[in-house]
């Protein structure tokens, strides 16, 4: 839609459109013609209706009260809208994202006379049982603290005054930040710690790091959303941002209803106490969907600036790209591949680049990091389409979901032959020190076995399984154990859903132990069928149900393997 007479309005400023005051953004200016992208359904809007400029770009409110909230793509509080307007999102709803009346207990960390720069932590507020909200000096403010008091305050009360070169700046807990502009940092650094997800195929084979980027492409029904939910639930980030971008309403309802009940494995507190949700489902306006990703990542950056480890899950970036395509089409821009705008690649890259491990602003130079995990929904499961390809150029981890695995109900359906992670070395280094020296070797051996299995399968398809040598048959058997008892993981089983790095190592170790013992036994001339019949092999399949902390169970299984295969060897000696 085009408006006139908005002199003084900048591009990407927010305006209110029509009698219903619908929210819109100026996306193009041509002399006096201002093109406005409206974030809501425009039925009932016509020429001659007024447009109200606000003079501000699309911004989010930052401050205590974000945690545990659910917002739409333009940060309207969905819980407030529900209680005020009922179950449907009426148009033109205007509510502040953060409560203006709630009192927070502000506890100063600094005192009057201290020198501060933007990013310094003035004090803290207990935002939830899990999150201590750090109130920071807004970027750009620099000077000496004049007053600062411990008090109960709303986010709009002044909690400190800073004397700067241009006068006294009153500092409130509430800050605003335009979503399309990345928040500043001192500098970026190399990520060095794994983002532990408790998902064996991820942590062991294709690991992610804190501050890294990864993408999860897959056709429908391959389990993208379950993977995203599992990561939102179990990853060891301090804060989780979940952006439901153009996806299903019932899935958001699932998150909303299950997160307050699920417990964080490390603290035992409800997961909702560390989570912020941004939900712009597929039937909500397209323009707000385009904004939702930016809204989400800006909030995530804000917590990163406090020195937290933040993980953002975006489900799905394809819907985001489609929103861009729709908007670009309406602006009659020259389309690139498959109708997507030509700036698709650079937009995606600039989004993923907002992830990273950083030294935050402020004198303390504390570290924070922001990990981004984006799912991609390629049409027809065809990975050659533009969104997947543009994403692969920037994301460092690729979890390729496979609908063939999904239809066998092998979940997570991450294909071990096509996926990759460029963080393996970082995680190997970490695990060598913290978990076990053999971590990296185990991973390499596992991937080798799986790779070899795929080759052998080709062979079996041509000449039948009986033609294989006993060594190869053993390898196929071990690969099957790895697939069924290690890589396959049941998200709905109370123990199996999360495995710590330690337990992942011991599980894999037991399987590889079986392999090496069996190989030796084969060389001694023992029949393969006897080796794979040993009862300890069945015990391996139960290792996934071993609760955290129970080292003994693994030791017993390894012992069982050794003894039973040893007994076979003894037996064969007697036969001789």
């Amino acid at each position: 839609m085009v408006a006139r007479g908005l002199a003084g309005t900048n591009i990407y400023d927010i305006v209110r459109v029509g009698r219903q005051r619908l929210l819109g953004e100026v996306v193009e200016i041509r002399t006096d013609n201002y093109s406005i992208q409206v974030y809501e359904e425009t039925e009932g809007i016509g020429p001659g209706q007024p447009v109200y400029p606000t003079g501000e770009p699309l911004s989010v409110e930052l401050g205590p009260g974000l945690i545990g909230s659910i917002f739409d793509g333009i940060q309207r509080p969905l819980d407030v809208i529900n209680s005020q307007l009922g179950p449907y999102i009426a148009r033109g709803a205007e509510y502040p994202p953060l409560s203006r009346t709630k009192l927070w207990h502000f506890l100063p960390r600094l005192k009057a006379g201290d020198k501060v720069v933007g990013g310094d932590i003035l004090g803290v507020v207990k935002e939830s049982a899990l999150v201590e909200h750090k109130v920071m000096v807004p970027p750009g403010v620099e000077g000496t603290i004049k007053t600062i008091v411990e008090r109960e305050a709303t986010i709009e009360n002044t909690i400190a005054e800073v004397e700067t070169t241009v006068g006294i700046a009153g500092i409130k807990m509430l800050q605003k930040w335009p979503v399309r502009r990345p928040r500043g940092v001192t500098r970026k650094v190399q990520p060095k710690e794994p983002l532990v997800t408790g998902q064996r195929v991820i942590d062991t084979l294709f690991p992610m790091v804190k501050g890294g980027t990864s993408c999860v492409p897959g056709p429908f029904g391959s389990g993208k959303t379950v993977v995203q939910h599992q990561l939102a639930k179990w990853s060891n980030a301090d804060i989780v941002l979940f952006v439901g971008c153009g996806e299903r309403g019932n899935e958001m309802a699932d998150v909303l209803l299950s997160f307050p009940e699920l417990k964080d494995p490390r603290t035992g507190r409800p997961l909702m106490e560390r989570t912020v949700l941004v939900a712009n489902t597929s039937n909500m306006p397209v323009a707000a969907r385009e904004a939702s990703i930016f809204t989400g990542i800006t909030i995530a950056e804000y917590y990163r600036d406090m020195g937290y480890s933040v993980a953002l899950m975006a489900d799905s970036t394809s819907r985001w790209a489609e929103a861009m395509r729709e908007i670009s089409g309406r602006l009659e821009e020259m389309p690139g591949e498959e109708g997507f705008p030509t700036y698709l690649g650079s937009r995606l890259a600039s989004f993923y680049e907002r992830a990273g491990a950083v030294i935050c602003l402020g004198t303390e130079l504390q570290e924070g990091n922001l990990s981004v995990i984006g799912s991609v929904s390629p049409p027809g499961g065809d990975l050659s389409e533009p969104v997947t390809q543009a994403t692969l150029r920037v994301a460092k981890v690729f979890w390729s979901l496979d609908d063939r695995l999904a239809s066998q109900r092998h979940f997570p359906a991450i294909n071990w032959l096509t996926s990759y992670s460029l963080y393996q070395n970082i995680v190997d280094g970490f695990a060598r020190e913290k978990i076990a020296p053999g971590w990296g070797e185990n991973r390499k051996e596992t991937l080798r076995i799986l790779q070899k299995e795929a080759e052998l399968e080709e062979l079996v398809r041509l000449i039948g399984i009986e033609a294989l040598s006993p060594e190869d048959k053993l390898l196929m058997e071990v690969a099957k154990i790895i697939r069924e008892d290690f890589l396959h993981q049941n998200a709905y089983h109370e123990v199996d859903t999360y495995t710590s790095l330690e337990n992942q190592y011991y599980m894999l170790n037991a399987i590889l132990r079986f392999y090496s013992e069996a190989q030796e036994a084969l060389q001694k001339g023992i029949d393969l069928s006897k080796i794979i019949e040993i009862p300890a092999k069945d015990d391996i399949s139960r290792l996934r149900f071993v609760p955290e902390g129970d080292r003994e169970a693994f030791r017993q299984v390894e012992q069982g393997i050794q003894q039973q295969i040893g007994a076979l060897r003894e037996g064969s000696k007697v036969d001789l």
Binding site: N82, R91, S282, R325, G329
Partner: protein, 460 residues
Amino acid sequence: MTSKEYLTVKDIFGPLMLVEQVEEVTYGELAEVKLSDGQTRRGRVLEIAGDRALVQVFEGTLGIGRDNVRVKFLGKGLEIGVSPDILGRVFDGAGRTIDEGPRIIPEKRLNVNGNPINPYARDYPREFIQTGISSIDGLNTLVRGQKLPIFSCSGLPHARLASQIARQAKVPGSEEAFAVVFAAMGITFEEANYFITDFNRTGALERSVIFINLAEDPPIERLAVPKMALTTAEYLAYELDMHVLVILTDMTNYSEALREVSAARKEVPGRRGYPGYLYTDLATIYERAGRIKGKKGSITQIPILTMPEDDKTHPVPDLTGYITEGQIILSRTLHLQGVYPPVDILPCLSRLKDKGIGKDRTREDHADISNQLYAAYARGKAAKELALILGEGSLTPLDRLFMDFSERLDKEFIQQGEEEDRGIEETLNLGWKLLGRLPRRELKRIRPEYLEKYHKETKE
């Protein structure tokens, strides 16, 4: 509002008309198109630029010229009149009754567009619906508030399957008000007639509302049909507290109508000529399924679509699959083997089943056995493929057992009668019976305690 009639039609192309010098017209407004021979048609404003409005004519533009037409804008969007009397009635694509019943006096008129449900207001669907069909109840369980489409191909019995579901669907142990809203878009008279006759025969008609837009009716009218059906369903569910099952057939025809309008507007086409916003448009239909906190009723959707060339990656099934909570896929191969319903279970999925099954809902072992049946069936199918190339002799005895299992699953578990209404216990026990032929140590997807309780190994 203005009651001006405009004689200023400038262009007519496809189903669209461009009207000039209009005043105070708004986007989405309904228009009345009067021809000089007394005919009245209806249209909707698709676009306004300055004083020019683009109007889409529902009944098509056949017979309209620049000088025989007057356009009046009605100052409101498309609406449907509802009252409890609409149950048991048949409407056309424009919302007019086409059966012999009395005139309906609407209790209120509702805008058919509907606002998006606030995700915060949604209640998660978790009530098991028993359809009496093993391949659905046992493996791809449907729950109240879900949208579960049937992907079919031309010539397959999707109509029979859908009406069997409509007939048998119930929540075990509950006697709540239940209704069916049926929306036909561009299907043949025979197919529509099959549904109406079948509903009539089984007495389902009394608790149904039917919208019919046949293949011969104007395609543009199709675009309004699902919106009217769902607005009606929302009225029944959230105001009359009923549990509503909405059957939409055939979504491929709907998408083609959308493509027709898009092409007439000269929009940049996406895949296969469908507009780039097909996903969003379909989502505004499918996402109207669900449950709302604090409301008794629910809307469950079963959209039916035919996959052109049996191709799952065609834009319509593809985008549908990305929006709906799973899919039931019918297979021509099974159909040719005489299996009814020919459900190709491997690519089927119900995303919401996990919260709808298990202890206190169906039975504790349900999730595990469903996963196990799937895993074993997939293995059996793979063995069968191998046997086709190398002969059965090349299979290990174990693989032969799995192959045998997958064949039995087709013939005994998936196959059932059109009037056969299997209880969930019966379905699960049938699954255990089939698994009985497999050695226990191969059943890794089932918790040991359930194996102990339910698994009985049987030998040939």
